[in-house]
Amino acid sequence: MISVQELSQSQETAAAKSRTWWEGKAPQIRELRFTLDLLRQSPLVVVGFALIGLFIAVAIFAPWIAPHGGEERFWQLPQQPPSWEFPFGTDTTGGDIYSRVIWAARLDLAIALTVVISAILIGSVLGSVSGFLGRAFDEILMRITDVFLAFPALILAMAVAAALGRNLTNLTIALMVVWWPTYARLIRGQVLTEKEKLYVDAARAVGASPTRIIFRHVLPNSIFPIIVQATLDLGGVILTAAGLSFIGFGAGAGVAEWGMMIADGRSYLFQSPWIATFPGLAILLSSLGLNLVGDGLRDVLDPRLRR
């Protein structure tokens, strides 16, 4: 729980740093602190944050951490078991799996972020317009999202990627196509509940335009459910992208990408199990970190469970 002292402190700082962006945002800051406080009490969420932090750090500092390049090959040393020189062993063409897992973190996280961020952008524009305008536009958009949501994500992405042609860019596009309807629906729902509230009437009364109301008033107030959904979806996108590239979409042979690396190790599973093991572990842990945090956030932000 948050103490009275902390409360007054946050108000003081807000007052002291007036004319900055958080001016008058004391309630939000208090809310954020309260949320973080609750989160800190759950060891699982802390573990989740640690995992996410680890993967982000690995992705950013890949050039400094990885001992070898992602495409570098030791042709004389294929399928070496894990050793001091190659901590995770080498693959069929003599690539250092440890380095490749690190480089792949960069690629896979980039794909996941691109997909989720663009899904949020497309979803929030369409969803908020739909929720705000209502009527025919809303009806049409919702039927379109019905069509998308009638298929499991992986299968729809498979079809779209197959139609576009098999490479990493198209894989990313296919995932965006699959993921935006979730956000359009979520944000539409948020807009529908928020727009009945008094502050929207107030904004309208002072003559704010609908665009301004949506982006300055309604969306900032619905940010938390979007964050929860995005955290969980990042994990989902990592899994789906890896699955797709495992069955032959995505990168060509040689590119360091987790799903591809597992596909590579599949044929030599019994002779050299380490080839498939370590990239799979990376997928599991990165996705687990995101799910732990997302799950914790959802519990904390759900007012019914908070009591």
Partner: protein, 325 residues
């Protein structure tokens, strides 16, 4: 009720529109010129497409040496259906009790353990789990001369030759039982264990979470307090009063999960060389075989729709309050 209706009506429409969408991309990007009325406006093409579908002409599957898509689906679909159903049974049979235990012992170590267990399940790449299972239960068992589980296929070639099976439903286990062909029945069952387990773990995890949260919700209701105050034992309260009400969200999720199960089957079948529509569709994709992919999408949509319909019917059975008048 409106929701039920819109679901039942919404889905077949969805199926057709999306199949057409694949066809669209086919025209724009594959540029395969065929005598399929490609010069006509889109809605006319769509009409031709629908009438072809209705006549059972789903195109030619290049993946399967140019035989009709419908024949391929007839051959491969039962295998996937069998796999998906067994996985669903696994997932529900384990997921529901674990969810109940976790709700009843909220915030106890058991609850935390199941939370980790189910979150790991949600984060698990199913194809990787499948590979690990193959390594542990097939290869390692074999190396140590222990009885091992088969790692690929639907039924052993030798068993198949020694005991030819009369195909009735296409589900080898069911056909084996009906015709008294127990050799094939056991062999098919043993072949299903690993892929079904790999596939069910994720969904088990989802059911555990769902069951836990809806049990917690239900346990707060007044009628549970009433049941307790009547002096009923905790066991009776949980199983007779709470469980039935907590089942509804879980059943809904199970219906939705069935589609995801088919998606997971694509990956699991590939790893286990299991001859179902999932593996068929991946080989179709590698060959850019649009007709097969469209057939696959269509069948998935139909199954998905049926699963939702079954869920709607189940509601009435579980909760008489929503029974149709």
């Amino acid at each position: 009720m409106t929701f039920t209706l819109s679901h039942v009506i919404g889905d077949p429409v969805a199926a057709y529109i999306t199949s057409q969408e694949v066809r669209l991309s086919e025209e724009q990007l594959q540029r395969i010129v065929r005598a399929h009325h490609l010069d006509q406006p889109l809605y006319v093409q769509y009409f031709y497409y629908l009438s072809d579908l209705a006549r059972g002409d789903w195109g030619i599957s290049r993946t399967d040496s140019d035989r009709p898509v419908v024949v391929s689906i007839q051959q491969y679909f039962p295998a996937t259906a069998e796999l998906a159903m067994i996985s669903m049974v696994f997932a529900l049979a384990l997921g529901i009790p674990i969810g109940i235990i976790s709700a009843v012992r909220k915030d106890k170590p058991v609850d935390h353990a199941t939370r980790v267990f189910s979150l790991v399940g949600v984060s698990m790449p199913v194809f990787w789990l499948a590979l690990l299972l193959q390594y542990a239960f097939y290869y390692q068992m074999k190396v140590h001369n222990l009885p091992s589980l088969p790692s690929s296929g639907r039924v052993d070639q030798f068993v198949w030759l020694d005991h030819p099976l009369k195909i009735i439903t296409g589900l080898y286990t069911v056909d084996g039982l009906i015709t008294g062909n127990f050799a094939v029945f056991f062999d098919a069952l043993v072949h299903l264990i690993l892929p079904a387990f790999a596939l069910s773990y994720i969904f088990m995890a989802v059911f555990v979470r769902m069951m836990r949260s809806s049990m917690l919700e239900v346990m707060r209701q007044d009628y549970i307090t009433l049941a307790r105050s009547k002096g009923l034992s905790e066991r009776v309260v949980i199983y007779r009063h709470a469980l039935r009400n907590a089942m509804i969200p879980t059943v809904t999720v199970a219906g939705l999960a069935f589609g995801g199960l088919l998606a997971g089957a694509v990956l699991t079948e590939t790893v286990f060389s299991f001859p179902g529509i999932g593996r068929w569709s991946t080989s179709a994709i590698v060959r850019d075989d649009i007709a097969s992919i469209m057939g696959f999408m269509l069948i998935i949509a139909v199954v998905y729709m049926l699963a939702n319909l079954i869920v709607d019917l189940l509601y009435g059975w579980i909760d008489p309050r929503i029974r149709l008048g």
